[in-house]
Symmetry: C2
Subunit: 788 residues, 2 copies
Amino acid sequence: MMYGKGEERDLEIEGINLGHDGKDERLERDRSSSWFVDEKDSLREPLLSKNNRINNTSQLAIVGANVCPIESLDYEINENDLFKQDWRSRTKVEICQYMAIKWILALIIGLSTGLVGFCNNIAVENVAGFKLLLTNNLMQKQRYHLAFAALAAGNMILGIAAAALCAYIAPAAAGSGIPEVKAYLNGVDAHSILAPSTLFVKIFGSIFGVSAGLVVGKEGPMVHTGACIANLLGQGGSRKYHLTCKWLRFFKNDRDRRDLITCGAAAGVAAAFRAPVGGVLFALEEAASWWRSALLWRTFFTTAVVAVVLRGFMEFCRAGRCGLFGEGGLIMFAVNSSRPIYGTPDLLVVIFLGVIGGLLGSLYNFLIKKVVRTYSVINEEGPMRKLLLVLAVTFLTSCCSFGLPWISQCIPCPASAGDRCPTVGRYGHYKSFQCPPNHYNDLASLFFTTNDDAIRNLFISGNDKKFQLSSLLIFFVAMYFLGIVTYGIAVPSGLFIPVILAGASYGRLAGRLLSSITVLDVGLFGLLGAASFLGGTMRMTVSICIILLELTNDLLMLPLVMLVLLISKSVADCFNNGVYDQIMRLKGLPYLEAHPEPYMRQLIASDVVSGPLFTFSGVEKVKNIMCALRGTGHNGFPVLDEPPLTDAPELCGLVLRSHLLVLLKNRRFFKQKGMNSSAIMRNFKAYDFMKPGSGKGLKLEDLEINEDEMEMFVDLHPITNTSPYTVVETMSLAKAAILFRELGLRHLLVVPQTTGRHPVVGILTRHDFMPEHVLGLYPHLNPHKQRE
Amino acid sequence: MMYGKGEERDLEIEGINLGHDGKDERLERDRSSSWFVDEKDSLREPLLSKNNRINNTSQLAIVGANVCPIESLDYEINENDLFKQDWRSRTKVEICQYMAIKWILALIIGLSTGLVGFCNNIAVENVAGFKLLLTNNLMQKQRYHLAFAALAAGNMILGIAAAALCAYIAPAAAGSGIPEVKAYLNGVDAHSILAPSTLFVKIFGSIFGVSAGLVVGKEGPMVHTGACIANLLGQGGSRKYHLTCKWLRFFKNDRDRRDLITCGAAAGVAAAFRAPVGGVLFALEEAASWWRSALLWRTFFTTAVVAVVLRGFMEFCRAGRCGLFGEGGLIMFAVNSSRPIYGTPDLLVVIFLGVIGGLLGSLYNFLIKKVVRTYSVINEEGPMRKLLLVLAVTFLTSCCSFGLPWISQCIPCPASAGDRCPTVGRYGHYKSFQCPPNHYNDLASLFFTTNDDAIRNLFISGNDKKFQLSSLLIFFVAMYFLGIVTYGIAVPSGLFIPVILAGASYGRLAGRLLSSITVLDVGLFGLLGAASFLGGTMRMTVSICIILLELTNDLLMLPLVMLVLLISKSVADCFNNGVYDQIMRLKGLPYLEAHPEPYMRQLIASDVVSGPLFTFSGVEKVKNIMCALRGTGHNGFPVLDEPPLTDAPELCGLVLRSHLLVLLKNRRFFKQKGMNSSAIMRNFKAYDFMKPGSGKGLKLEDLEINEDEMEMFVDLHPITNTSPYTVVETMSLAKAAILFRELGLRHLLVVPQTTGRHPVVGILTRHDFMPEHVLGLYPHLNPHKQRE
């Protein structure tokens, strides 16, 4: 039984749909709510034809809109008999297996993310270190042009390598990756986002990109890498390479996969910052949309494993077995400011720092959005344009890092520095650059090094004359704008390091300027400045605080860091959203917010239900099913029991497209219209219906059904979810949205309030709760706080 | 319209209900599901008469069962017109007010909890310090009997004071308080739990109890104190003392109150351990049942304020202005073990430590349960018995702390200690006790001091011969059992400190015994032992880990602490539940678990619905309402629109008892049966229906309605929640439970699947999801993993 044959599909497949013909929404509303009252009418005239469906995301969704078909994930359990054979009702051995695998997988994720993180560090330190040493040598021989040529060439080769990987192999690997992981954990499954190719490109692209001296971090990419690793494991191995494992079959469902990916994201942060607790809190505060206590524990275990792995490798490398990788390869700053004692003026200074940091942070977000939009236009024009853009940015960065230090004057070495000035080799913060002997160039110590080392230099405490005011200002401005123009090019680029670089130089600068009224150390000011920028751009609080504390290993600064974070976040929140939310919107990912928008309280569920609705009979003709599957992209169909079986049409449940495909593939059809559940159930095990890995499921084209079979019947009862969540049509849309979001649903059935009508009014999907959709239908609802 | 007049009430009022007559559950099930099919039959014969309702909690609910009428809390928003005037649709000024108050309240909670925590510390240090100094002086004069008499008398007076406060003023203040807070945040509102009297007794009882030398902590009480303070603020001031504030009216709802109390609980932990991040994680992992990202931020702010307050006071006291309160008054241990380097044997030792710690921890829980049960029998017999019990335990503790050190041999002072041995005054770990000059008694250094100092001594690194093996063993055994016999007596008694004491001595003992195969420091072993015991009893992981790290201010030990916690928790989980869960069950608090029990998947919603059901018409006779309110304890009644108004009976919504009382109090009745919503709505503002503070709402006895009015009609539409959450009767009980729990509901309407029947099958409340209730109805459902 089908109502209409519109081209309409639900969001999961179609993703983004351009176009808006401005039809009268009031009319639509009336019709939509009277859908089943006047059934015939609506059959003749599809209510919401394709062009009529409004999706304002589309106008924003410039980046990546065409790459990813978006699929929505589902937390709901099917309570049907066939699916009830879940692990709880299995044997004790199977339960133990399941529990054991969970932990083993967490262990493996931790181990491999730790390993990847460490290799990333070794590779970057060696490649970038070699490049810098070479240039340094040429500089000391005063062959400045050659030095610049070597630096620029090295950077551009590395940059091109990173860009080529991104442009040709996995375009999804460009950018931070955190918005994508966040969207996935919210229930948006865009296939290529966590694919193996993305993993590969993310790892190597990040190494090349960071080594190229670009102002990019490896933290976002590490989070993405961790999530990709977790996703690979959660797919149950690769069937292609015969790596599938029987035990992993338990994990063929959305819930377990999402748990794994949460662990992976946490492991990524833990590996990037060597901050296990920070990783857990990051996953909790920023990444995950649903959280369970059990997950806290498992995530914590994963990050602990990462910490142990990193520690082990660092012990191994301490003896100098890792080339240029020294002790400090993993960023671990030392702000040894003893016990900071502070009074009211210091607090006022810190508050001031936070306010300005918040303002600059929100400006950063604003500029990033503009830049990303501009870049996306360029990037859309093909891989070559992407390469050129990367080349341009790399060249600009090289010019800055080589050219700007010439502005700075040479400073005589302080007596206390002794042999350490000027620096020999890679480390140390007294780079000689062009200076005569016994002098150093402070700006070169910041520019002419890796990002990690620059941050370490900015956090060094004491000796507040080490950097000149002008040098700090130049470095701050350069980093602020280089960070902005670098994000959005086709390399894996984390945002943490650019923001910390700009923030730390801002903080140190502020500390120097305000040194007359505060007793706080300039190194501590660097840390607070970084915190204020992080709070102003990312809008996380607890996790950033913990990450910074774990980096500096000093809990005594906690209150100050907290204060600065709270202030900068509050200030920045007045202007725009967090940077990851902005990017997610730019990418057009349909993220479901935790709270419904206020104007949704003025609508009821049936107001936003969009038709036409396809329903099946409990025992349905194969032809009808094939028709519906071919004609629509719907992922869920209500199943009704109808008069021959019951007195009146009655809602039986919901059947999923993927399950229908498995059922049809089996071809157990019957000539007569009748219940044959038992016969069907004998042919299947619950495993058959488990969710396959992304992109590996059955497709409609895989089915071979001949004309005779088309006329036969199939009993849908065994695969029907007989306990779908429902709302009454008069339910407030806001409350329906809470239900949908809190329970992590994919389909929500709307049932009529009055009896005697058709038992289903419609289906609500993720799309129907999107502000763009709702406001498209009812533009007169003026949202209170709609930020652009 | 009412179906029957049984004595049945729902859980919110009745709380615990003894008795089980073992009626045929099969029969009941059939009836229950056919309730509305055969309506007449059921009217004649109430399905579940009072004795028929089974609540197995009752058998366990010995402690406190009679003190608290339990009320359930509600997160649900009423989307009705009258209630839609919430803050979102208010003026901008009001929204700003609301936001500002939120933060101001968080600030106040932080300030006051920090203040209370600090005063607690000062008081304890001064009282206990004075007592110990006095005894010490007498000891040095070799007047041993007098010293013991002074110690015992002092302890017993303090103990009696604490017990008297608990027994006569606020019995709810006895014990840890964490289980109660946890239950409150789960939605169980037992009135006296967070009352001002409880707050008063908790603060002073805790000071007296800890000063009395009892093996109790101040951490649990601090959490409870924080929650009480938050609750007081959330009540909107006290109307009695004219302290009510207009601005606080926004907070007269369950959601905001629960948020405040979460902040309060976090502030308590932060104040007790000076661990702001630990406090946040504690609230997240252990206390809260629902969590929102916004809450993370606010909680963090509160704990940061606590940290700042504590820091400020400690600066103030550093100059010696706080009597005997020294620098280390707030526990802040120093395990200065530099950078611990460890290999495989060390890891094996740590794993071993974790396993044994887990076993001992679960044994601790088991014994505590037995002891609490025994004590509760004694405590039930009246306040005098409570006092005697406290007296006995105090005397036993005094005997142990004075008597056991005599067993230990005197040790000559090490040369390195210099002047510090033997200790003069309160601090230091070389107590002379009965020893000759230049000797010290190591056991006295542990027993003859405050609990905080004993822990600090156990965590001291290096010098691993400082404590003899026999001394550590004696101390461990004494603390293990004293901790167990002390919990459950009528004083505010935290569990953290006893567990840390036992765990640290166990760890140090193990470190000494295993010193041949490990290079780890004995102080570090003390810390790991404490971690293993905490993991084994409390079953928290991340929060304990962070609290320990904040106490010791050394993040480098993180991996080892994590490992030990994970192992001990996993081991202990095989045997029983966490200690707070056990106590909560003993107290009979209907805690709703995050996951439904597996056997619930075999039931459907209508299986557990218990009748009789009272429903009202949209326009109902006053008499009928009064009848229903008097005759039942139900808190929610479905409202139906019936034939004169609609074609067929139709569900209109749900009306709450408290709202009905407000409506009836207003006495806007009508002679004719008709809709008069507008007339009614003019008389009310949304504030009138806001939830008053606990115990302050209107009562049925407050209504004065005469005979004439009884025959009149009242329109319930304006106060009806027209969007109640509903489930279809065939919905799996497990999925209904998930809905109920995730959305924090109080009532869940069950609607029929087939059309043409009565529009409401029944109401599910918290009670109906309790395992005891479900298993009482269907004892044949053998739960997989039901721990006692």
